[in-house]
C-alpha cells in the first residue's frame, strides 16, 4: 500500500468500541489525538458501543467499519454466518478476569466449583470452564454494577483487570483477581471488520491498522497524554488519577505487547493460538457452520 493522502479528501471511518471512552481504548484515541489517522487519509469517528447488545451485526451489515471484539466471538459470529474477519489484535491477552474478596479462599479457577458467579453469559470462558474443565458454577447475569460485590463478601464476579479492581480500591474495597485466560482458553482482544470492507477497501483497512498500532505503541511506550486528555474530555468520569492507574495495570499485565518469549507481538496474531482457539470452540459446539480459522483472520 502507499501513503497517498488524496488531497484534503479524507475517508470516513467508524470505529465502534465495547464501552465508554476509557484508557483501555487508549491507542485508538492516541492515534486520533495525534492525527495518525488523518495522516493515513482517514477521518475516524470513535463511537461508544457500551449499549450495543451485539456489535457484530452492525459490522456485518456495514453500518460500522471496524469494531472491538474478541477473537472467539468473531469466530462464533462467522460460525453463525456473519461475514466477519479479524484484522489485528490490540491486546494480546484478554483482560477479563474473575474477582473475589481475599477472605473468599479462591486460589485457582477450579475453586469456583459450586460457587455462584456473576458472569457475562456470552463468554466462551463460561462454556469452556463448565464443559471442558468440568467446573460447575451457578451463573447469574452480569449487570456491570459493583454494588453487590462491595457489600457481599461471598460475591464473585467477572471484571476487567484494568478497571473494576481500581474502582473498588478507590472506595476502600480490596479485590483479588484471576485472569480467565489462565483457564487455558486464551483469545485475543482485537479489531474486526467485515469481509466486504476488507475486500472493497483493503487500503483503508491497512491504513487503519497501521495508524492504530502506531497509536498503541506510543500509548504504552511514549507519552499517553494526548489520548488521556481526549478521553477525559469525552468522558469526564475518567479522571487523570483513575486513568493513570488503569494505564499502570495495562502495562503491568503486558496486555498490549504480550509476552515476547511466547512469540507475542503488538498487532500480530499467532497462527498456533488461533488454531487452538478454533479447536476449543469447535469441541464446545459453539461453531454452527463450518469455519476456516485460517481465512478468518488477517495475519
Amino acid at each position: 500500500g502507499g501513503n497517498k493522502a488524496d488531497g484534503p479528501q479524507l475517508e470516513k471511518v467508524l470505529l465502534m468500541t465495547d464501552w465508554y471512552p476509557q484508557p483501555e481504548h487508549g491507542g485508538f484515541y492516541q492515534a486520533l489525538a495525534k492525527g495518525y489517522y488523518e495522516q493515513e487519509g482517514l477521518e475516524v469517528e470513535i463511537r461508544s458501543g457500551a449499549n450495543m447488545r451485539d456489535i457484530r451485526s452492525p459490522v456485518a451489515l456495514g453500518q460500522v467499519d471496524f469494531a472491538i471484539g474478541t477473537s472467539d466471538t468473531t469466530l462464533i459470529g462467522i460460525g453463525r454466518g456473519l461475514p466477519l474477519v479479524g484484522l489485528f489484535p490490540y491486546f494480546q491477552h484478554d483482560p477479563q478476569c474473575v474477582m473475589f474478596h481475599p477472605e473468599n479462599n479462591v486460589e485457582t479457577l477450579n475453586d469456583l466449583d459450586g460457587r455462584t458467579v456473576m458472569l457475562q453469559s456470552s463468554l466462551s470462558y463460561t462454556e469452556y470452564m463448565t464443559k471442558t474443565l468440568g467446573i460447575k458454577m451457578n451463573l447469574i447475569p452480569l449487570d456491570f454494577s459493583l454494588a453487590r460485590f462491595a457489600t457481599d463478601k461471598d460475591f464473585i464476579q467477572q471484571c476487567f483487570v484494568t478497571s473494576e479492581p481500581i474502582h473498588l480500591a478507590n472506595q476502600g474495597v480490596e479485590a483479588q483477581v484471576i485472569l480467565l485466560s489462565e483457564s487455558g482458553f486464551d483469545p485475543y482482544r482485537h479489531i474486526f471488520t467485515s469481509q466486504q470492507t476488507l475486500q472493497q477497501r483493503p487500503e483503508v483497512a491497512a491504513a487503519f491498522k497501521r495508524a492504530s498500532i502506531k497509536g498503541w505503541q506510543e500509548f504504552v511506550e511514549g507519552d499517553p497524554a494526548p489520548a488521556l486528555t481526549l478521553i477525559n474530555q469525552l468522558n469526564p468520569q475518567q479522571t487523570p488519577e483513575l486513568m493513570a492507574k488503569t494505564l499502570r495495570a495495562i502495562k503491568q499485565y503486558r496486555l498490549v505487547k504480550g509476552n515476547d518469549a511466547q512469540g507475542d507481538q503488538l498487532g500480530q496474531y499467532q497462527a498456533t493460538r488461533l488454531q487452538a482457539q478454533y479447536e476449543q470452540l469447535n469441541k464446545l459446539g459453539l461453531l454452527d457452520l463450518p469455519v476456516s480459522w485460517d481465512s478468518s483472520f488477517q495475519y
Binding site: S57, I76, S122, N138, L139, D143, R148
Partner: protein
C-alpha cells in the same frame, strides 16, 4: 359460530398481512437473518431450542404469576388506602411515583439484598413494574364515583368500609380492569427484566430473560425471536385472563358492553 368468525377473522387478516410485509421487507431490502430472521427461521429455531424455551417459559410463568397477583393485590390495597384518606393520598402518592420512576439498576441491589438472588427478587421487580398502572387506574376509579351514588350511601349511614366495598370498588371496576390490562401486558417484560437483573443463569432456574440474553449474546437471532415470542405468549395468557374477568364483571351493566346488546 358467526361471532367466533368475526372475532378471529380481523386479527387473522392483519396477522397474515404483517407476515407478508415481514417477508417482503426481508427480500426487498435483503435483510440478513441475524438482523431480522424470517418467520420460518424463527419457528425452526424455536423447535430446535424447544426444551430450553419450555423450561425457561415455565420459570418465567411462575415469576409472572406471583408478580402479577401480588401486584394485583398490593395495587388494590394501596389504591383503597389512598382513596380512603386524602391525607394518605397526598402523603404517599408522590413516593409511590418516586418508586415507580426509580431505575431498576438502582433498586436491584437493595431488592437483592433483601430478597436474595432468584425468584423472590424477580417477582419483586415484576411487582414494581406492574403495580403502578393498577394503582393509578384504581385510585382514579375510586375517586371518580358518581356523587349521586355516594349520596345514597351517605344517607343510609354506610360505614366507610361498606362505601368502599359496595360502592367505590364496583364503580371503579372499569378503571381497575384497564389498569390490570396494562399490568398484564407489562408482566412478561417485568419478569424478563427481573431475570436479567436478579435471575439465576443456569439449569432449570433460568427464566426466559436469561435465555434471551444468552441467545442474543451468542447471536442465535432466530432463537432469540422464538424466546421473545414465547414471552409474548405468556403475556397473552395474562391479558386473556383479564379480558375474561372484564367480560364477566362488566357485561351485565357497563356501557362498554351496552352496544353488543
Amino acid at each position: 359460530m358467526n361471532a367466533t368468525v368475526s372475532r378471529i377473522f380481523p386479527p387473522a387478516i392483519v396477522g397474515v398481512s404483517l407476515i407478508a410485509i415481514w417477508y417482503l421487507v426481508i427480500y426487498l431490502f435483503d435483510i440478513p437473518i441475524f438482523q431480522l430472521p424470517a418467520p420460518h427461521d424463527i419457528i425452526e429455531a424455536g423447535s430446535q431450542e424447544q426444551s430450553t424455551l419450555i423450561s425457561g417459559a415455565l420459570q418465567t410463568t411462575l415469576a409472572c404469576l406471583i408478580g402479577f397477583f401480588t401486584s394485583l393485590l398490593g395495587g388494590v390495597l394501596i389504591s383503597v388506602l389512598l382513596a380512603y384518606s386524602s391525607w394518605a393520598y397526598k402523603g404517599f402518592y408522590p413516593y409511590i411515583l418516586l418508586l415507580k420512576m426509580m431505575p431498576v439498576i438502582v433498586l436491584a441491589p437493595i431488592i437483592i439484598l433483601w430478597f436474595g438472588q432468584g425468584l423472590a427478587s424477580i417477582t419483586v421487580i415484576t411487582f414494581l413494574i406492574c403495580f403502578f398502572p393498577i394503582v393509578a387506574n384504581t385510585t382514579m376509579g375510586l375517586c371518580s364515583t358518581d356523587k349521586n351514588l355516594v349520596d345514597v350511601f351517605r344517607v343510609y349511614n354506610s360505614s366507610a368500609r361498606d362505601e368502599m366495598l359496595k360502592l367505590r370498588i364496583p364503580y371503579a371496576m372499569p378503571y381497575f380492569l384497564t389498569g390490570l390490562k396494562v399490568a398484564a401486558a407489562l408482566t412478561p417484560i417485568g419478569a424478563l427484566y427481573g431475570d436479567t437483573v436478579a435471575g439465576m443463569g443456569s439449569g432449570s432456574d433460568a427464566g426466559l430473560g436469561f435465555v434471551v440474553v444468552v441467545f442474543s449474546s451468542q447471536l442465535k437471532i432466530p432463537a432469540l425471536y422464538a424466546a421473545a415470542f414465547t414471552a409474548c405468549f405468556i403475556g397473552f395468557l395474562f391479558v386473556s385472563l383479564v379480558n375474561i374477568l372484564h367480560w364477566r364483571l362488566l357485561h351485565k351493566w357497563h356501557d362498554s358492553y351496552a352496544q353488543s346488546n
